[in-house]
């Protein structure tokens, strides 16, 4: 049966806690322009990912390719609250986060097709993309690694006292990795400025959360480390942005890490070859019908009097942008054979 994420999360405060808690986040009161921006960004991710799926089907993208379709509101809402000093790190479902960091779609798409012009010169692929310039630190293929690495980014922010916060995304699957808890411990011990974002899309590959997690309310996973957690509707970009505001206020006040469990849903398979046996088509369709994050914003925009034509124009712009990036990614050359031996080490010895 369908498990559409609840719009209004239940109050998450344990009844006996006397520790300081973050305020219950409120939906962000977005201006019309901000709402339009959210719409545009979510749509860019959706269309980009759909195109990536097509290129995969044509054999232009190889290996693994994890699409973000359905989860767009999470990254859009959270990253819209960041400042230029903050850093972002995630796992292998990373295309959307990269686009939001300001990395041009064609650089990402060309990496997916393994071309020299790709953001990693074609040597990383879908799961291994980085842009230090945009403070996007990957793009990591080992489930959970980005949690420790992200904690290290937070350590660097604190060490330099630069006011930056690290945003480390990981999935409900990674939430069961041991290093996550090693990192939680040190992050709280040292009061590191980090927001741990659990993108709970309900399935770790084909294993549903409650088949893998003894405590399936993942926002509670920090409790034994005294890290507060909030459970947020990840299908609602305004809820996501509201949560980011609370989390950033907490972390920037020097109170240490915080966990945001974003209840979301992935429409596509885990990667491109997915048996789709672990959930029903009806379940997926029900979420799309009832909870689609883009439709939600579209509706809000209509209510605010934005004309259908204006939204169409945004859509057309995005399609053009995505098509251009796909054309580029198909036509731009593969790396020179000599690139095989570059970048193994930085220095010469």
């Amino acid at each position: 049966m369908a498990k559409a994420p609840a719009r209004a999360p239940a109050p998450s405060e344990p009844p006996t806690s006397n520790r300081e808690r973050p305020n219950e986040p409120q939906p962000y009161a977005a201006s019309k322009d901000e709402l339009l921006k959210f719409y545009e960004q979510m749509l860019l991710i959706r269309r980009f990912e759909e195109k990536a799926g097509q290129l995969y089907g044509l054999g232009l993208i190889g290996g693994f390719c994890h699409l973000y379709i359905g989860q767009e509101a999470v990254a859009v809402g959270l990253q819209s609250a960041l400042s230029g000093d903050d850093s972002v790190i995630t796992g292998y479902r990373d295309h959307g986060h990269m686009l939001l960091c300001g990395i041009p779609p064609k650089d990402v798409m060309a990496e997916l097709t393994g071309r020299q012009a790709g953001i990693s010169k074609g040597k990383g692929g879908s799961m291994h993309m980085f842009s230090v310039e945009h403070k996007f630190y990957g793009g990591h293929g080992i489930v959970g690694a980005q949690v420790s690495l992200g904690t290290g980014l937070a350590f660097a922010h604190k060490y330099r006292n630069d006011g930056g916060v690290a945003l480390a995304y990981f999935g409900d699957g990674a939430a069961n990795q041991g290093q996550v808890y090693e990192s939680f411990n040190m992050a709280e011990l040292w009061k590191l400025p980090i927001i741990y974002v659990i993108e709970n899309n309900q399935y770790a590959m084909g294993t549903s959360v409650n088949r893998a997690s003894a405590e399936d309310q993942l926002y509670r996973r920090g409790e034994s480390f005294r890290i507060p957690g909030l459970q947020i509707d990840g299908m609602d970009v305004l809820a996501a942005r509201g949560a980011a505001e609370e989390a950033l206020a907490w972390v920037r006040a020097g109170k240490g890490p915080i966990i945001l469990e974003m209840k979301t849903y992935r429409y596509r398979g885990h990667s491109m070859s997915d048996p789709a046996k672990y959930r029903s088509r009806d379940e997926v369709q029900a979420v799309r019908d009832k909870s689609d994050p883009i439709e939600h914003v579209k509706k809000l925009l209509s209510e605010q009097g934005v004309a259908e034509d204006e939204l169409k124009k945004i859509e057309q712009d995005i399609r053009r942008q995505v098509n251009e990036s796909a054309d580029f990614a198909e036509s731009t050359p593969e790396p020179e054979p000599s690139e095989l031996y570059t970048d193994v080490l930085v220095e010469k010895y």
């Binding site: 993309m129 980085f130 690694a145 330099r160 970048d343 193994v344 930085v346 010895y349």
Partner: protein, 486 residues
């Protein structure tokens, strides 16, 4: 009954120590479990407990006395229990209660301690406790050999000072931390405890807790945090209490640190040093005795360094910290307390990836690294007595490997033996053999021979451990074989 209380040993390789403090005075009554004295080496402090009961009749070695030989009678006790249990014991056993040695939950450091100046000849007036002849002791003894060839990197006329490998490593870190605020050190017991093996001694005092950071026992986590901090622009030194424990963190060393620069097309770097003791120590058993040199040396994207003497330890650790690449820096616990000459220079930095000729010779080349170099030099001395002139090469860096130095020596001697304190299969010795065959085949007058540890987990029993480890005798036998000598 008078009981002689002797200077205890903190470890199988300790020969002398400092009687830091008496906690009892003549006339005091002591009973089993009372702490009578504090004994120190440069590595550790131990509280010396009474085993027998009685009255302190005489204190024979005063507080603050250095270089007290193990086994020296330091006090006498008038026993009260004569006849109580039919005991005829007239003296308290010298080996100290291990639990008293270090009162923590650190079995690695607890079980292992070494001493300073133990290359001194034993004082026959004070015969030490009977020492078990172990494989580790043989390696430790051999590790007193200095290079016979001056390192060409040392300018003519430079003053040399003798310091331990431990001090050299500490000085390297301290100098680089003074020079660059991005450099910090993190690991288990590196700060308040002053280092499980005292390598970080004094760093907390100088640099404070922002830059010298005690971690929980959580290797995977702090290796990841260190790697992430390096990606974020800092220059971490991550200490593993031993590299055995780094197995829990090897994912970050390889998947995160080593591969990132390549995977990012050269835009995201990970300038980090993973350092700590590697290889067999003394009688610590299989899980604490393994050489990971070949493991890390097989990984593109890593620099792997394994120094032998103090000058290389200092010069190469400074180079490792400055490098923008990830470095695995493999130290050796048995070498920490060994003293070697180090050039007295403001900034002694060595090039990474350059082997060193430790002894020149014409008949055979012995290639080694880390503690194996001491054995190679000892074997070379003995072989010289038999008319075989061996050249000894210390690889120093395992990745990238200095093939040129190895092949040039092979071209000169036409025979080669590789000595490695580690397993034989897929070893550095295997790699050197392959290089000699592929690129030096015409120079070979005999097959290259590998002298390594036996292909078994390291046993605990002293006799078995000795059988398992490399030794100078095994090196000599192999050299004679490649020289077709008996």
């Amino acid at each position: 009954m008078a009981i002689d209380i002797k200077m205890p040993a903190l470890s199988p390789t300790m020969e002398e120590g400092t009687l830091a403090k008496w906690l009892v005075k003549e006339g005091d009554t002591v009973k089993s479990g009372d702490i009578m004295a504090e004994i120190e080496t440069d590595k550790a402090t131990m509280e010396f407990e009474a085993v027998d009961e009685g009255v302190v009749s005489k204190i024979l070695v005063g507080e603050g006395t250095d270089n007290v030989k193990v086994g020296t009678v330091i006090m006498q006790l008038d026993g009260e229990d004569a006849g109580a249990g039919g005991s005829t014991a007239s003296e308290q056993a010298a080996p100290a209660d291990k639990n008293a040695a270090t009162k923590d939950d650190n079995p690695a450091a607890d079980a292992k301690a070494d001493e300073k100046k133990s290359d001194k000849v034993e004082d026959s007036a004070h015969p030490a406790q009977e020492k078990v002849e172990t494989g580790a002791r043989q390696m430790f003894e051999a590790a007193k050999h200095d290079a016979e060839v001056r390192d060409p990197a040392v300018p003519e006329g430079t003053e040399m000072v003798k310091i331990t490998v431990r001090e050299a490593l500490r000085d390297a870190m301290a100098e680089e931390m003074r020079a660059d605020d991005r450099v910090f050190v993190m690991g288990e017991e590196v700060a308040q405890y002053q280092g499980a093996y005292k390598v970080t001694q004094g760093l907390l005092d100088e640099f404070g807790e922002r830059r010298v950071i005690d971690t929980p026992i959580t290797e995977y986590g702090f290796a990841g945090i260190g790697s992430g901090a390096a990606m974020g622009g800092l220059k971490p030194i991550v200490e593993f209490m031993t590299f055995n424990f780094a197995l829990q963190a090897i994912d970050h060393i390889i998947n995160s640190a080593a591969k990132t620069n390549y995977m990012s097309g050269g835009q995201m770097r990970c300038p980090i040093v993973f350092r700590g003791p590697n290889g067999a120590a003394s009688r610590v058993g299989a899980q604490h005795s393994q050489n990971f040199g070949p493991w890390y040396a097989s990984v593109p994207g890593l620099i792997v360094i394994a120094p032998y003497d103090a000058a290389d330890a200092k010069g190469l650790l400074k180079a490792a910290i400055r490098s923008t690449d990830p470095v695995v820096f493999l130290e050796n616990e048995l070498l920490y307390g060994r003293s070697f000459e180090v050039p007295k220079l403001d900034d002694w930095v060595l090039p990474i990836g350059k082997a060193r000729i430790m002894r020149e010779g014409s008949d055979v080349t012995i290639v080694s690294y880390s503690i194996g170099v001491g054995l190679a030099l000892e074997a070379a001395d003995k072989l010289a007595e038999e008319g075989i002139d061996a050249e000894v090469i210390d690889l120093r860096t395992l990745r990238p490997l200095d093939k040129q130095t190895v092949l040039a020596s092979l071209a000169k001697t036409n025979r080669m033996v590789v000595v490695e304190e580690g397993w034989p299969t897929c070893s550095i010795a295997s790699e050197i053999s392959t290089i000699a065959m592929e690129e030096g085949f015409d120079d070979l007058d005999a097959p290259v021979m590998r002298v390594t540890d036996e292909d078994v987990p390291l046993p605990y029993a002293a006799n078995l451990e000795k059988l398992a480890l490399v030794s100078a005798d095994k090196v000599i036998a192999a050299v004679k074989k490649v020289c077709y000598r008996r």
